[in-house]
Symmetry: C3
């Protein structure tokens, strides 16, 4: 907060609040097939869900039902960003680091660690019928396993309708 904003806050109301009545909880599932480790954007599919649910104001919950893949909001302008993010995760959770759990292959335990560090749920506000993402924000499924997988995502909107 700037000094100006703090002064304004002291004087009266700080926020312009838009209020609506919660009307619906809409739930659906989305499946994404992955071919190899990396970032798979599904911003368009999430926006589509919001449109089909006739969502207006509220929150979108995105939940991934797995322990070796995760969900991340990141820059979707330059694809090099996702390449570097994948490199960064591999450096933080290398395959050859003496993990006890190795029965499912050398990529399995690092996949669990990467999932722990990045998480399996996202919450995005919906305002005026659209996801309130920033200009450069995209929604990604991040596959951490070497082999192809079919990943299941739950989408759930709570809020008002158009």
């Amino acid at each position: 907060m700037t000094v100006k904003e703090r002064n304004r806050a002291a004087a009266g109301r700080l926020f312009t609040i838009n209020s609506v009545t919660p009307e619906v909880i809409a739930t659906a599932t989305l499946e994404i097939e992955t071919s190899s480790p990396g970032f798979y954007e599904f911003t368009r599919e999430a926006a589509r869900f919001i449109a089909e649910a006739t969502a207006n104001q509220g929150t979108l919950l995105i939940f991934l039902r797995h322990t070796s893949a995760s969900l991340v909001i990141q820059e979707n302008a330059d694809p090099d960003v996702c390449t570097d993010l994948t490199t960064a995760l591999t450096r933080l959770a290398p395959p050859d680091a003496g993990w006890v759990h190795d029965a499912e292959g050398p990529d399995d335990m690092p996949a669990h660690i990467k999932t722990m560090l990045t998480g399996v749920s996202l919450q995005i506000p919906v305002t005026d019928g659209a996801l309130a993402l920033g200009t450069w924000q995209g929604i990604y499924l991040v596959e951490h396993r070497a082999r192809p997988h079919r990943r299941e995502i739950v989408l759930q909107f709570i809020g008002s309708r158009r």
Copy 2:
């Protein structure tokens, strides 16, 4: 998305949506006693809360009121996974790394870093009266401090009732 799914999306509706009316916000607290660093599963207790709240469709928020322990969803099949996750966190936030904040012991600052990297809140969809967790997903409190602690968790369901 596969090519087939993209074609289907272009043709019409992509999602099968289940819609209900929000009826209740149910809130309770859960305390967990920890004895040493590591993972403490409480999936059963979270499911119990959902049952006692007669929850049907909606979202469960789980919030930990601490800064040196965290909440993680991870594999609950092989206990070795949690052992390796604990090792991974210690490698990312080692105790002997010259931290400025050391008044509360060598395990305190690493505990804050581990908490920052893994987070203190989880959101899980509830569908048909049950947590929509994947087959291998379990809910864990992760204790990062060396000494025993009593940790306080807020559970909150927003949704429809059975």
Copy 3:
């Protein structure tokens, strides 16, 4: 769970549940000006939003519309903690690590990595008209870029009113 609590759970109800009816979804935006990398606390502003929205019971979603800054709940007692957290993030995502994406300066790609590791959304329960934060928990915007930025945050409460 202690043995005592498990016994109690087996015998009957485990939770004391407070239930209310969802009445409102209140949304507003907050802008924070940053001057350099580091932690900027805005717990007071979040509490102010809860007060102005006449929130009683429910959830506060805080969402940051950027990919090179993030949101973290951490200790707000000793400022050294935030200094060490900043150091820890720089060690996990160093500037001189051969990133492919370097067109926006050496601090840009590390900023994206730090954002991926810490996240852009927080959910905090609201009980009895107040944020249900722990004694030592504060809400922070974490700036990862070297130059000053104006960061936009969406605040959204879903719940009952006072």
